[in-house]
């Protein structure tokens, strides 16, 4: 782990564009990362166009066709139809939008809350730090899924509520990460210098410290994306999640569970979609970590 390659990315003397280019080169050298990027591109494509491209857009909006229930996979319905005669492929395609946006929402809200808490704790230190970090540790002790389930049950069903419920159990990791980075950054020469020049604490925090913790946050967000999608699906699987007719992978899987083994196809498509999307994000996250956060690389 002492090759010169990574040190380049760390070297503040290198012009930014150059650093980026090298990072991109390294990234493209890793076949796994490229595979991840490829899958994620497809996933994002379906996130944007899934609902529009679905062969039966009416059914995505809730139309039913009870005359053609439980049709096995065929040319007209590549993944078969479900208990209401809806085209499973259409539901899974449109489900991409729901699942990926929900996952992204969770990670985004979680990272914003976590960054704020961590930055304040790391910067203020003293009792504020103590209180915030105890709260963070405490939240970490409560099993995440159970906490999210309880909050989601309290807030009621719906896309937004589900995202908020999961995000509220998602922030502590970011708080710890950011606090650590802030504490480390405080001791850096340029921060000491800025302070000596009379910069206000606010300016130091926003201009000097936070920009430097951005890359570990982005790495963590990309690594978390997959797990957030999994958690969203898990909540849907238990039956606390979006409202019908919104198609969501976990909910689709939980409904189709009762029809196994005879109508197994209703479960296969949402399950595989989930797996592929998470797989893509995890590969991509690993690759990003390698180039953006060489310290973490092993």
């Amino acid at each position: 782990m002492t090759t010169t390659e990574h040190n380049i990315a760390d070297d503040p003397g290198t012009p930014r564009r150059d650093r980026l280019r090298r990072a991109f080169f390294r990234f493209s050298q890793s076949r796994l990362s490229m595979l991840g990027a490829g899958i994620v591109t497809i996933v994002i494509f379906f996130t944007i166009f899934g609902t529009v491209l679905a062969p039966y857009p009416d059914q995505v909006a809730g139309s039913v066709d009870t005359a053609s229930r439980f049709l096995a996979p065929s040319a007209a319905h590549p993944f078969g139809t479900n208990e209401l005669g809806q085209d499973v492929l259409s539901l899974v395609m449109a489900g991409t939008t729901v699942s990926v946006l929900a996952g992204f929402g969770v990670v985004l809200i979680g990272s914003v809350i976590g960054t704020l808490v961590g930055a304040i704790a790391g910067f203020a230190r003293g009792w504020v730090d103590e209180v915030l970090m105890r709260l963070t540790d405490l939240t970490l002790t409560i099993p995440g899924l159970i906490l999210a389930m309880a909050i989601a049950a309290a807030l009621g069903s719906g896309f937004g509520n589900m995202v908020i419920a999961i995000a509220l159990s998602w922030w502590p990791g970011y708080a710890r990460l950011v606090r650590g980075e802030v504490l480390a950054a405080r001791e850096e020469v340029y921060v000491t210098a800025a302070r000596a020049l009379g910069a206000t604490p606010k300016r130091i925090l926003f201009r000097h410290i936070l920009p430097n913790v951005v890359s570990p946050i982005i790495v963590k967000m990309s690594l978390d994306m997959g797990f957030a999608i999994l958690t969203v699906a898990g909540l849907g699987f238990i039956g606390i999640g979006v409202r019908p007719p919104t198609p969501e992978w976990g909910t689709l899987l939980s409904v189709s569970r009762s029809y196994m083994p005879d109508y197994w196809w209703t479960a296969m498509a949402p399950g595989m979609a989930m797996f592929l999307a998470v797989f893509g994000f995890n590969l991509l996250g690993d690759g990003l970590r390698d180039i953006l956060d060489p310290k973490a690389r092993r």
Binding site: M1, L32, R134, L135, L138, T139, T141, I142, P143, G144, L145, I146, L147, M149, A150, I151, A153, A154, L155, G156, G226, L230, A233, G234, F237, I238, G239, I240, G250, L253, R257, M260, P261, W264, A267, G271, M274, F275, V278, F279, F281, N282, L283, D286, R298
Partner: protein
């Protein structure tokens, strides 16, 4: 060392207080009317009110909280509104099932993950290593409940090799309660039939649970092994011409395992809270299933109880891991 343990145990108190406050806060948020539900569909308003009084739910939240905490001091976790059973007794019945599942999953993950990690580190950057790395990310990406369903579909529904769910076939009388782990209890009772039966039931859910920690442990083990192998003393040992098998088993593995321990500790807590989905798939009568049912009926006492027990176990597991460090690496001092 004893002082270290005592101090860490004392730290549990603020955890208990904090946990209960947070969970009580969530309970307060609930819009529904669990009392009306518990009173039954045909109860009159007066009967509902009487039930609320009986459970102390008519009082302000801080009084309820004070009552709860004073009960907690006596090991009373409150009463489920829905079943009217004491939560502590329920948890005593469900916790061993969850722990047995978690330990079995952890056992598989460690027993397979650590050797795999060592092997892939030694074969670093050759094709078995690449294959293992891709599979590991695949394993982490696999939703546990989907994996559980696939295992169930394949081994329980199509091939019919293993049971669909539950802990024991109902015609097998469970062994006398000692640890609550059916595998261990049936061994204690010398009941081989019950032992094999419980293993058969444990297999699929434990595998579904173990895949993700297995992959993480393997990756951790691989990277810490690579790190250790580049340390001076290993280089020296190599230069001195010690056989590489000896180097790996004697120096590398030991040091790499100690780095992997933290992950195991963290995963233990994560698995405890993460059994919910697998328990749902395999109808495994554990804490997760219990909590899910309570959450859906907004029966908050069981939920608070489960969160508390899992939280404490999580803290406790980390304490044990810290102590284990000392056993593996005597250089660690507890202060």
């Amino acid at each position: 060392m004893l002082r270290f343990i005592l101090r860490r145990l004392l730290l549990l108190i603020p955890v208990i207080v904090g946990l209960t406050i947070i969970m009580f806060g969530i309970a307060r948020l609930l819009p529904g009317d669990p009392v009306a539900l518990a009173a039954g569909p045909n109860a009159t308003q007066a009967e509902i009110a009487a039930l609320a009084v009986e459970y102390g739910l008519d009082k302000p939240i801080w009084v309820q909280y004070a009552n709860y905490v004073s009960g907690l001091a006596q090991g009373d976790l409150g009463t489920s509104l829905l079943t009217r059973r004491p939560v502590a007794a329920d948890i005593k019945a469900y916790l061993p099932a969850t722990l047995e599942l978690v330990f079995a999953a952890m056992f598989i993950a460690v027993a397979v993950g650590i050797p795999l990690g060592l092997v892939t580190a030694v074969w670093r950057n050759r094709w078995p290593d690449y294959l293992a790395q891709v599979s590991a990310i695949g394993a982490i990406s696999m939703p546990r409940f989907f994996l559980g369903l696939l295992l169930q579909l394949c081994f329980a529904m199509w091939l019919m090799w293993l049971p669909l769910g539950g802990r024991l076939p109902i015609v097998v009388i469970p062994p006398r309660f000692v640890t609550g782990f059916l595998t261990i209890d049936s061994l204690i009772a010398g009941n081989w039939n019950a032992f094999f039966m419980s293993l058969r039931h444990l297999a699929l859910p434990a595998i579904a649970m173990s895949l993700s920690p297995l992959a993480t442990i393997m990756r951790m083990m691989r990277s810490s092994t690579i790190e250790v192998m580049q340390q001076d003393y290993v280089m020296t040992a190599r230069a001195l011409g010690l056989p590489s098998r000896k180097i790996i088993t004697k120096y590398v593995a030991r040091n790499a395992v100690s780095a992997t321990l933290t992950v195991i500790g963290l995963y233990f807590g994560w698995l405890l809270g993460g059994t919910v989905l697998v328990e749902t798939v395999f109808d495994w009568p554990g804490l997760g299933l219990y909590a899910t049912k309570a959450i859906v009926s907004q029966d908050m006492m069981p939920v608070i109880g489960v969160a508390l027990v899992i939280g404490l176990l999580f803290v406790f597991a980390n304490l044990v891991i810290d102590l284990l460090y000392g056993v593996i690496n005597p250089k660690v001092r507890y202060s």
